[in-house]
Amino acid sequence: MTASTKPSVLEMEAIAARHAHLLQSSSKKGLKQMLIGGGVVFYLVFSWWFFSIGHVLANANWGIAGTYLADWVSYEVRPEIAIAPDGTMAVSYQRNSPLGKNPNPQWVMLDKQEVTRTVEARSATTPAQKPKASSSFNFMAPNAALGAGGTTEQAATTTRTEQVVTRAVVTYDRATRIEIANKLVTATHAGESLTMKVDGADRVTAQTPLPRWATQKRPGEKVTLSFGFTGWAEIEGDEVSIRNRFFGWANFLFDTNSPYFGKSYGEVASLILSGDRIEPTRSNLSLAWDNILYNAEWQHLDVWTKMLQTVVMAFVGTLFASFIAFPLCFLAARNITPSRVTNQLVKRFFDFLRSVDMFIWALFFTRAFGPGPLAGISAIFFTDTGTLGKLYSEALENIDDKQREGVKSVGAAPIAVQRFGVLPQVLPVFASQALYFWESNTRSATIIGAVGAGGIGLKLWEAMRTNSDWENVAYMVLLILMVVFVFDSISNACRSRLMGGKAH
């Protein structure tokens, strides 16, 4: 079968000779494609140079990108273990630690001992507070009084009895742990272990060869251990800094100041339902609700208010724009208003409002009204009056003239002609367009918010600029995506009802 359908060489040549123009690809076309391809490649190379992309990418801090991304969905707990020259230790936590005022987590095991000794003003039990490792966890409410960390400040030169830590074991996960005792630090990770000798002042000496996960720039200097997502540690001569990373958002409902902090859902539920009043003046439920709303780390009430502002900006702006565009579009439509001058004037006015762009209007109105949703409303209102006016007048110009003539022929007044001859045709289109812009403005209101026009945009931008509140950024992005999704669905459902399934 195949043999019979396959033309012989002779036949092929005959066919090729008959249709020569089909087999020769047009040299003009080929040249054109070459030119376009070459132009695109040349442009890309030019832009690479213009933006110096290679240089910027090479200088970027990619290591920190991973940390920032991990911050979206996780948090760190940072115990600092200070080591004195005599081998005793003291453990302190970051200020505003997510574990609360007196952190005593299970994964840090401490052997304590009572010792009596003479302490000088700067003793090992008052570890010198190094400012560098201070937490910015609570940036969004820097004034929230969460109390000092777990250190006890005692600076008198006296003889006293005190508790010191003689052995500390930090367990990151099953394969990763750090043990500190007698000025000897032993780290175990992925089946390998590393022993280091610290002198309680400024020297670290590795006793065993460094595994891949450990780095030391020069002998005697600090050793950095990175355990991947579970965290990392820094070993210095007088201090071991632990960074243990946990998955999830810390203290999402109750912050460390709340009486409900650290309780399981069951305990909280039973407290609310049947417990004694924590504060005598109000019920436990209202206290819990209040604690959630004014959570110092997540600021739920503020975030929700800002989100509502964004939604309101889009809603009011689009609604007003359609109110103003509605009468104006009748003036702009050729077939409704016969005067060419009026048509052109109104149309150019729409073009002007549209082209100046929402962002420029937002900048101007932020100056007029101050930062807040009024500026956003005005910006959306100005831009959308232009856009909706243009779309409305185009819809009017495409109407079916027969209805209008019918109404006119029975002697209706001009207003009645519009009301019964024109409006029924265009009203669903108008409403559908308005809904569509309401939906898309909910999205774009986020970004004009970032230049000061109110809503969640500014809060989002501020949280990002600090480089440490990525978990708050993730929370707000999630909220925005959810709200946009809900309004998309509502607007799509309304539009497909209005247009009888033709909206998309």
Binding site: Y43, I53, V56
Partner: protein, 320 residues
């Protein structure tokens, strides 16, 4: 009363129809009234809320509503030209406000590009570059998301979800994230705009591909072409004009988007405009606004002209 008089004159069936009609229309009126009053109520509540949470109150600040006109009034009309072309101003008092020559980009000793033109070119170039990147990846992804070319629902669904996420993710967050990693400059803006473009164009592209005529693809399949050959020779020539049209449409949008991203830290003309408005430099602001206006208008007109040539009038229906 009028109904009862009317119905007495009608036949029994007629009266029934009349009554039904009356019921229907009164119900309709009720719904309309209800709907409108809910809308009005929401509107007033929204307005009150917006006013309440604003820094300046609406009534107090209303006289300042048209302040921006004053922000745009230079001392004389020639100032706009001087600000635009970086020529020295006669009002120069050493302050930054009238110091136009600052920021010139010298090509040679005598020839320079004015600052605003330079920044405007940078913004337009960000838009073009990120649109090209977006088209490239959107082009690759769209064939994997089209029902008629990708029978595997898992890949198709995955690619579509990916596009949705890229589209819906706020641009400002992407820009902020890259600003944190990279130094200040146009690359965060490029990343933000192109990631959004991949999602937006990918969706438009695969809808075009799904509407393509499958006969050429069938012919190629019959002679044993593989998937890539079928797509390249069967589908791409059909959809190319529409793709180019969408590329141009997106370019218009991206010129605006890269201006905004510039204002929040991505460089380019947007940042200069924000600073200039904030500091009340009338002539500079007006010069930038006019330049921006002219650029956006020129890009829109050029793209509309090219699109009409490529796909005829349907290019404008597609846009909606």
């Amino acid at each position: 009363m009028a109904t009862s008089v009317l119905s007495r004159q009608l036949s029994e069936n007629g009266a029934l129809i009349e009554r039904h009609w009356q019921e229907l229309s009164s119900r309709r009126r009720l719904y309309t009234t209800l709907g409108l009053s809910i809308l009005a109520l929401t509107l007033f509540a929204s307005l009150w809320f917006a006013n309440d949470s604003n820094a300046g109150k609406f009534v107090d600040r209303l006289p300042h509503f048209f302040d921006f006109v004053g922000d745009l009034m230079p001392r004389d009309a020639m100032e706009i030209g001087r600000a635009l072309l970086d020529l020295p101003s006669p009002y120069d008092d050493g302050s930054f406000k009238y110091n136009y020559p600052e920021g010139r980009l010298y090509l040679t000793d005598g020839v320079y590009i004015p600052e605003y033109v330079h920044k405007m070119l940078e913004t337009v170039n960000i838009a073009i570059f990120s649109t090209v990147l977006g088209v490239f990846f959107g082009f690759i992804l769209c064939f994997l998301a089209a029902r008629n070319l990708m029978p595997n629902p898992w890949i198709r669904g995955g690619v579509r979800r990916l596009m949705e996420v890229l589209r819906a993710f706020p641009e400002v967050v992407i820009a902020g994230f890259f600003l944190a990693i990279l130094s200040l400059g146009p690359i965060p803006a490029i990343a933000a705009v192109s990631i959004h473009t991949i999602g937006a164009l990918g969706k438009l592209f695969f809808e075009v591909v799904e509407n393509a005529d499958m006969k050429p693809e069938e012919g190629l399949r019959a002679v044993g072409a593989n998937w890539i050959e079928r797509v390249w020779f069967g589908i791409v020539p059909q959809v190319m004009p529409n793709f180019v049209s969408y590329f141009l449409l997106r370019l218009e949008i991206n010129v605006r988007a890269s201006t905004i991203i510039g204002a929040v830290g991505g460089g380019g003309i947007g940042e200069l405009l924000r600073l200039s408005i904030g500091q009340g430099h009338q002539a500079k602001t007006l010069a930038i606004v006019l330049l921006l206006f002219a650029t956006i208008f020129a890009v829109d007109q050029f793209s509309a002209w090219l699109r009409r040539r490529l796909v005829g009038d349907q290019a404008f229906e597609l846009a909606q």
